[in-house]
Symmetry: C2
Subunit: 121 residues, 2 copies
Amino acid sequence: MKTSKAVAALAALAQENRLEIFRLLVQAGPEGMAAGQVAEKLDLAPNTLTFHFDRLRFAGLVTVRRDGRSMIYAARFEAMNGLVSFLTENCCQGAQEKCVPVAVCKPKGIRDEAVSRARRR
Amino acid sequence: MKTSKAVAALAALAQENRLEIFRLLVQAGPEGMAAGQVAEKLDLAPNTLTFHFDRLRFAGLVTVRRDGRSMIYAARFEAMNGLVSFLTENCCQGAQEKCVPVAVCKPKGIRDEAVSRARRR
DNA sequence: TTCATATTTCAGCGAATATCGAAGTATTTT
DNA sequence: AAAATACTTCGATATTCGCTGAAATATGAA
């Protein structure tokens, strides 16, 4: 992962509301959640929410799809794992048995391919 | 970990120079690095570097100690691991065998106590 | 078609951020 | 004590950020 990409992701998460949005999506899993549900759970104005979703999306941390009149947002687990491995890269100076540099989270429905792609970067 | 603490850490890392500083310290290990060495490696003005170190320190991501006329900065691995586990909290919806929620990195010289303290939060 | 629901776009404003140059402080060397 | 080294503090500035309110767009229901 490039530094600038990591900075974008960290900046996107470095805001109280956005961090909660992202964590909600992480816990919701790969199927995601409708924007309206998120708005309700976190008590945010719809336009504010759009603003935050845009930033998360631009940073590569979430995806969207339309379902009827709702927009379904979902966390991109590869991005999250990639960020974690970037942060912890070479953190153990040889004590490899104690380190878990990649593939921190692999929820149901996420195939191995995405994880190994993140590992390669 | 509280959300506001995580936001502070993410904000501290959400800047190109600071992220590189932190990664350098992570790779340097628990003994840390003198400010001057960091300045040289990353080609940063000393005052700018102080500004960034202050933010990392305030966010709980690094520690300092004086050694002669040098200031030695070191990454706080518990903080890093705590942040990672906060981000990935409950990310696997029951597929626990595939998840590594805490203690991602435990370098030489970091005792177990610090890791288990992070786990408790 | 008309209305209701779900979300996005736009303009604007106060607050926070990153960097720079100049001056200040602490520690070691001479 | 004076000079050099290693950082830190201060003041100023241009940029970015997060929120609000009003209006617009897209889809579904009546």
